[in-house]
Symmetry: C2
Subunit: 272 residues, 2 copies
């Protein structure tokens, strides 16, 4: 892993020991696909970061400096670029310091392995996601629920887990959003009470007639087709969820091709 | 601030850049009162850490090594000792790494200023605490709710804020537990759905006939007396909450004297 650390516009050699990201998860992050050294969804990632910063009242670094450092780190390659922004250093205690420079880290990671041929295998997680409208949608660094959910299985035959809220409705996968096809259109859970407004999810909502709705597990089980999406992998077909299985579906193929046309980083692996 | 960083039993010069505490708030912490170089409530702090480690399936460092390093850092002084334990370094992604050494930080901080003469001034916070039984009670590092709540005011005339859950019941203060006296006994909110099982709270429950109950804001407003408690400050009288004020009460005095007798670190400041 190659990594660069900053406090405001100043380069650091190490993470400050009093960093509030470490103390309280007091930060935001973005995990971005880099393709030939560029980040196709950069604008969407930065917009979500701005929304998160507004909601959590967190300072952001200079966008141009982040872009320039990211371009150097990507160095023309394909891979994954991760940005963490925290509220910076501070004395002990929850009160956010004023006039603090944000700490930010850029790190470079290899692309994940290609997905399982035929589609992903999912399970339902037991861990429930709490309802917290004040933090819903944004990609903040308080992610113990996702860690606990992902810790429920280590069977390599399972690719992802679907999460329900403490109220029983479907939230998404631990590291992806979920869309179901009801025979007429795509539908995805609202992220008004919990969950993350993924960048891939945003692309589908903006470019198709997909709808955000409160969805229950029985809606998922009854779907004609199911996909997961995130900003690194694009759109991935789901083949199985517990005992329920889905054959390949033309609506999935059409959605994946549409994204592949929008950007070559996301041409379906089997077609690339 | 003086600080020591370790990975398992090995001393580090800096926090690992891939530390899961920074990435996900994937860790636990304890904030402890040190008195003449010793931590009076050490056993209670370590027990809560063990419970948190069990619930979050997190590895802990060796207790004896932590104690020895803590003793060196305290160096016979009065102050505040903070311990953070994270799940250590790991590759990108929520799946907890196996066989990972925990990262742990010990840091030393000065005692907070003495409390306001006559008692604390409180407010009700707007930020609500989500109901998450899987993480309730333990002192984990996902603390954005407390940060948002504490960010609601910067009036130095306000000492602390009381939090309600998304369900409306009282949780506690941002950095302390709350007890109310109903004329007969002390009562404190349950921490089965959210909130932290504070070490000072545990001492009161274990040594008096205080009860844990679901408490509503009107219970607090109707109380004969109110105190906050935490492991650094001990038990502090509350003088005012919004428009409601309380004169000194013999039950508060008795409770504070009882704690002062149990350990000289917590002799009420006005008597010390």
């Amino acid at each position: 892993m190659s990594v660069r650390i900053f406090s405001g516009d100043r380069k650091l050699n190490a993470i400050p020991t009093d960093d509030r990201g470490l103390a309280y998860g007091d930060g935001l992050f973005e995990t971005m696909r880099a393709y030939q050294g560029e980040v196709p969804w950069w604008d969407a990632h930065w917009s979500r970061l701005q929304l998160g910063a507004h909601r959590a009242r967190l300072p952001l670094p200079d966008r141009k400096q982040v872009m320039a450092e990211a371009a150097q780190l990507c160095a023309g390659r394909d891979g994954v670029l991760k940005l963490i922004v925290t509220r910076g250093g501070g004395s002990r205690g929850y009160a956010p310091p004023t006039d603090v420079a944000p700490t930010w880290l850029l790190s470079w990671h290899p692309l994940p392995r290609p997905h399982r041929p035929g589609g992903l295998v999912l399970r339902w997680c037991e861990t429930r996601v709490a309802l917290q409208p004040a933090l819903a949608g944004i990609k903040h660094c308080n992610r113990l629920e996702q860690v606990l959910a992902r810790a429920e299985w280590n069977d390599p035959g399972i690719d992802e887990g679907l999460l329900r809220s403490t109220d029983g409705d479907v939230v998404g996968a631990t590291a992806a959003n979920v869309f179901l096809f009801d025979g007429d259109r795509w539908r995805t859970p609202l992220v008004d009470r919990c969950g993350i407004a993924g960048v891939g999810r945003g692309w589908i909502l903006a470019t198709t007639d997909a709808r955000e709705e409160r969805l229950m597990p029985e809606d998922v089980e009854a779907a004609e087709a199911l996909v997961l999406c995130n900003a690194v992998r694009g759109i991935l077909p789901v083949a199985r969820l517990g005992d329920r299985s889905w054959p390949p579906h033309p609506a999935v193929q059409a959605l994946r091709e549409r994204l592949g046309h929008a950007h070559p980083a996301f041409v379906p692996e089997e077609d690339a």
